[in-house]
Symmetry: C2
Subunit: 220 residues, 2 copies
Amino acid sequence: MTSSAEENYLKAIYKLHEKSGNMVTTSSLAEMLKVSAASVTDFVKKIAAKKLVTYEKSKGVKLTDKGRLIAVNIIRKHRLWEVWLVNKLDFKWDEVHEIAEQLEHIISDDLIDHLDKHLGYPTTDPHGDLIPDSKGKFAKNNSKPLLDCVAGDKVKFIGVAEHSNNFLQYLTKNNLSLGDEIFVESVEDFDNTFSVKLNKKENKVFSKEVVKNLLVAVIE
Amino acid sequence: MTSSAEENYLKAIYKLHEKSGNMVTTSSLAEMLKVSAASVTDFVKKIAAKKLVTYEKSKGVKLTDKGRLIAVNIIRKHRLWEVWLVNKLDFKWDEVHEIAEQLEHIISDDLIDHLDKHLGYPTTDPHGDLIPDSKGKFAKNNSKPLLDCVAGDKVKFIGVAEHSNNFLQYLTKNNLSLGDEIFVESVEDFDNTFSVKLNKKENKVFSKEVVKNLLVAVIE
DNA sequence: TTTAATATTTAGGCAAACCTAATTAATATT
DNA sequence: AATATTAATTAGGTTTGCCTAAATATTAAA
């Protein structure tokens, strides 16, 4: 059986691999999971014995197909629960992560099927992240950071690259929600400050730090 | 902090006390929780040290007010989740127990408040069991077993005294749902077999074993 | 009331998932 | 290339919640 701890390790390995593309190190896992490096070494040996990861001593771990499937499934559950919390229970997008961290470990395929149906088979979560299907497949993602846009571009805000409550609350405060249209009026090339028009009415200025974390799709 | 194990012990003690009215014995707890008697003795000492129960060696345990509040809160959560599973996710009343057993341990008062609101502040679960309020108070319950009725009584089916899937499925198969009207046509006094009319149309015969587990309320 | 049966507790252990401190391996610096 | 720094592993421990087997209580039966 796969315990919560195991699911959390696999999910962490998946996310760290996504970010860096490399083998996942003991120390990065220790930091993400908030446990000691010694604990990670221990645990990683156990899941390697179960063929959920491949482990090279002192180098790091990589998910096997089996491990990846479990990880992606947890991500699927997490994101479906987040959709539920926001769309059905009226939570804000910055309030759902911790609760979904618990709900994602509930074990019942039937439950997830019913939940998925109840939600209308959503393909993205409240932060714009893709929800994989039950086989672990993700839809194609053609988003890019607003930072990569230039003056004159008209795009749609479809996701965030940074999920901290801090950033999410900044966006809320600045009246920016998923689906909004962003028209790039100008870009200051000294510091990459963006001057934009939101939904054809409101003018805003966003720093580089902000625009690199706003994921957008070109309209049409 | 209260762990899942602790919550399950307190809930089991609460339920066993409900049933017998007496102090709860080690062996009854062991049987209900499917652990050894030795484990129960161990655990009971720990929760007694936390003042969640009073423990008299070789005699049994009783909940303190503190322990009872935790137990009732778990029951509240369990029943709210069952309402959700049946009313919103379209599960059948015999499919929800195991899933709710997991969901009841999710920790977030906020979540329960939102869920309660989402469900329209229900006062009973899909089996007719009362849902206590957040302070642990139950509404008055004026139900009685159909067995206590006599020929000529007109009552409403409002709950079950036996929650096994077996019994629930028997009722479903016999077309009996909460809220149905039951008119007692006659009672065989040799063996307490009841002949009834359901919802003013369908005639049925129920054994003593069945009618003692059907909880009803007199109409008007 | 003495014995037999049943229930409970004690003693000693185990697995999971964590820890710290000490050691070894890998990487970076002079 | 030798040394210092940083990262990873090993060794030994802890806590939680469970176990079995042996010892004591309690309750029931002869």
